[in-house]
């Protein structure tokens, strides 16, 4: 079974990421499996997806916006944020918005060009699951989550910026 980093551990992962447009045949062939589908299909093919046996999550391309998911956000079991190239930083904003503005509490997963040296910032933006690029070493990637012990800015597990936690100077 494929594996991902989730909540700081290297774990089995049953979700199937569907990169391309979905069809009834495709859904048929994945009957019973948990699927991550493109936003456009999720918006346009609600009926067949409702009939699907298995859970359904959505992935956002880097140019797509969380608000396109509308009021369904809290009920989604999984939202994935795509990094088509590791230098494309739009996914960081999408992640932070999902957590802060839309108060999404489910699994938030990084997909695409997910590399060791961006994991820490992804985590700080609220991503808790990482579907690593195939060549990445999971142990090295797990250590990335501890790159820094603290941070100046607010983050998901510490909503107060450092300046609100600091003792006043003399």
């Amino acid at each position: 079974m494929p594996k991902i980093i989730k909540d700081g551990a290297w774990v089995d992962d049953a979700w199937v990421l569907l990169r391309d447009e979905i069809s009834s045949d495709l859904l048929e062939s994945h009957a019973g499996q948990d699927l991550i589908v493109p936003l456009e299909d999720w918006l346009g093919q609600q009926a067949p997806l409702k009939r699907h046996e298995g859970r359904v999550g959505v992935w956002l391309a880097s140019h797509e916006l969380p608000e396109q998911l509308g009021s369904a956000i809290p009920d989604l079991p999984l939202i994935a944020v795509d990094f088509p190239a590791f230098k494309d930083g739009r996914g960081f904003t999408n992640a932070r918005e999902l957590r802060e503005r839309f108060a999404y509490e489910g699994e938030l997963r990084a997909i695409g060009d997910v590399l060791r040296d961006q994991l820490f910032y992804m985590m700080r933006c609220g991503i808790n699951a990482f579907d690593l690029r195939d060549d990445q070493n999971p142990d090295v990637c797990l250590s990335a989550l501890r790159d820094f012990r603290d941070s100046y800015q607010p983050r998901i597990d510490q909503p107060l910026p450092l300046f609100r936690r600091r003792a006043p100077a003399d």
Binding site: D150, Q153, P161, F163
Partner: protein, 551 residues
């Protein structure tokens, strides 16, 4: 100045360890060139013509003498005994070895210095007025606000992979010495009708390929909202700034293409979600930061000083230096002294390790152990007793540091150019020197205030667009040529210079500058600076003279 606490130290230690590991993986072949690139850039490391270039951050230009001595040590041990102050108040070393960079960063961390975010597509070092807190003409000291921005922008998880680099300047003085209007975000401290200070916010300024003066997005931002508002602008930029074309990726292009009103609406919408959130500044934090920038222990001194008056009477060279390089201080009996790093024959902004140590000693003796680096590539001793100015200048003279040319034609801004930089189309340092050699000290003094800014390529590190005279190195079929522009300025009334006409060969430049200056001297009215005469006459008479056949 700001001092690190345990949190700052820990954050920096973690960063040094992180980059040590990244460098090791790169050297081991476990990290590709392409994947290492943004990591090394965000640690100040470029691959240059001769060797890597390491750019170290000097947050808003403030340096302690301990830090300057550490820079001297690094220059001696890891470089060839000198460094280069940049137009963003940073310092660059041109000869370090990649393998040794993590070691250099560890040395720097000892003195609360680093190379974080001095390059790459992230929020860069925040710059400000080099006279902040000392000048007689100031709305508010900008440095505590710069420090708050430094912390907010350091390792910001959302904004480390922006479409392009992002530069912020803050100016708290009545006169803008920070080129605030040519930054991605420019912040002017202002006072509103109720007497409260806050920020006037400009956005979308920048030089480079498409020079644009920043435009006002908000006339008054209350101080406690500074960070939430910056977060909102950056978020709109990170989400919608162009990523399809490197040359159109700066926020200035986004603002231009979106239109300021629509852009402002987007920011306001985003800000509504962030305003009054946890990033809203607390009074306690603002006070904490301000405490680091309290006045040093000034003495109570008379307004005028007899030692100074006498020295000015008897030593004309000192009087010349005083007139150019000394500025009015807020405290009676004190003065702000600028050490020019532009003596003829030296690359503008270059300083040797020996000079660094010498300046550090002088700052300890005369200016409370602190210095400031200016975006014009000079160094400031901001709190000197008038009584000591003559002594200070005599000491500076002994190390070729007493040149009295601040704001004169020879006080040029100049990038490293084709001698060092891999991006450059043309050399810039030899151009600066050739121009300096063309004018005598008497002529320079007669010409008065005139800025010449030189860039070796259109990335515009030498700020050529905003020089009264701008010089840009261009490549024409493998030959180095120089395009000249006139009328640029980087002050409160910033303007982009106009190109005078076809480019010139390197050897023609001194004569071209001489002709431009001649038109000014013949036409100036009482009290007019070069830029004033240019504004009155416009470009035509200059153009005519420059391209006239030799008589």
């Amino acid at each position: 100045m700001y001092r690190y606490d345990e949190y700052d130290h820990q954050m920096l230690e973690d960063r040094v360890a992180q980059f040590r590991d990244q460098t090791a993986r790169y050297l081991d072949g476990k990290l590709s060139e392409d994947e290492f690139l943004p990591l090394r850039l965000q640690n100040g490391l470029y691959i240059q013509r001769h060797a890597p270039m390491l750019r170290l951050a000097i947050p808003y230009g403030m340096l302690s003498t301990r830090q300057l001595r550490k820079l001297a040590f690094i220059a001696d041990h890891y470089d060839k005994g000198y460094g280069h102050f940049t137009t963003r108040q940073n310092i660059q070393f041109n000869w370090p070895l990649l393998e040794e960079v993590p070691e250099i960063l560890a040395h720097l961390a000892e003195v609360e210095m680093h190379a974080i975010q001095t390059s790459g597509n992230c929020i860069r070092n925040t710059t400000t007025d080099q006279y902040a807190g000392a000048t007689a003409h100031e709305i508010e000291d900008a440095r505590p606000w710069c420090e708050l921005i430094r912390q907010w922008s350091s390792f910001h998880p959302e904004f480390a992979y922006l479409p392009r680099k992002f530069k912020i300047a803050v100016s708290g003085g009545e006169y803008d010495r920070a080129a605030t209007q040519v930054h991605d975000i420019g912040l002017y401290m202002v006072r509103n009708e109720d007497g409260e200070t806050g920020f006037r916010v400009l956005v979308g300024g920048g030089l480079g390929r498409t020079p644009i003066i920043g435009k006002e997005i908000r006339s008054f931002l209350p101080k406690q909202d500074l960070l939430t508002y910056l977060d909102a602008i950056l978020r709109v930029y990170n989400r919608s700034g162009r990523r399809d074309n490197k040359f159109k990726a700066r926020i200035k292009i986004q603002v231009k293409e979106t239109g300021m009103d629509a852009f402002r609406d987007q920011v306001e919408q985003e800000w509504a979600l962030l305003k009054d959130g946890p990033l809203t500044l607390t009074q306690a934090e603002v006070e904490r930061c301000k405490r680091f920038f309290r006045d040093p222990d000034y003495r109570e001194l008379p307004e005028h000083n007899e030692t100074l008056e006498k020295a000015l009477q008897k030593d004309i060279l000192f009087a010349n230096w005083y007139e150019c390089n000394v500025a009015e201080h807020k405290k009676p009996g004190y003065a702000i002294a600028t050490v020019s790093l532009k003596p003829t024959g030296t690359a503008p902004g270059d300083v040797t390790s020996q000079q660094m140590r010498f300046i550090a000693d002088l700052a300890d003796r005369y200016s409370f152990g602190e210095l400031r680096v200016t975006h014009n590539q000079n160094v400031v001793l901001a709190d000197v007793e008038q009584d000591s100015l003559y002594e200070l200048w005599q000491a500076l003279q002994s190390q070729q540091l007493g040149t009295g040319n601040l704001s004169l034609l020879s006080d040029m801004i100049c990038c490293p150019g084709g001698d060092f930089c891999a991006l450059a189309n043309a050399k810039s340092i030899p151009i600066a020197e050739a121009i300096q050699r063309h004018f005598s000290d008497e002529e320079l003094r007669d010409i008065g205030e005139l800025s010449i800014n030189i860039s070796g390529c259109m990335n515009a590190c030498g700020h050529h667009h905003v020089g009264n005279i701008g010089i840009l190195g261009v490549d024409k079929k493998g030959q180095e040529f120089y395009q000249v522009s006139l009328g640029g300025k980087a002050d409160n009334d910033a303007a982009i210079g106009k190109i005078i006409g076809p480019a010139f060969a390197q050897e023609e430049i001194p004569e071209v500058i001489a002709r431009i200056v001649a038109v000014y001297r013949e036409n100036r009215r009482e009290g007019e600076r070069f830029i004033d005469t240019f504004s009155r006459l416009d470009i035509a008479p200059f153009k005519e003279r420059v391209y006239a056949k030799n008589h």
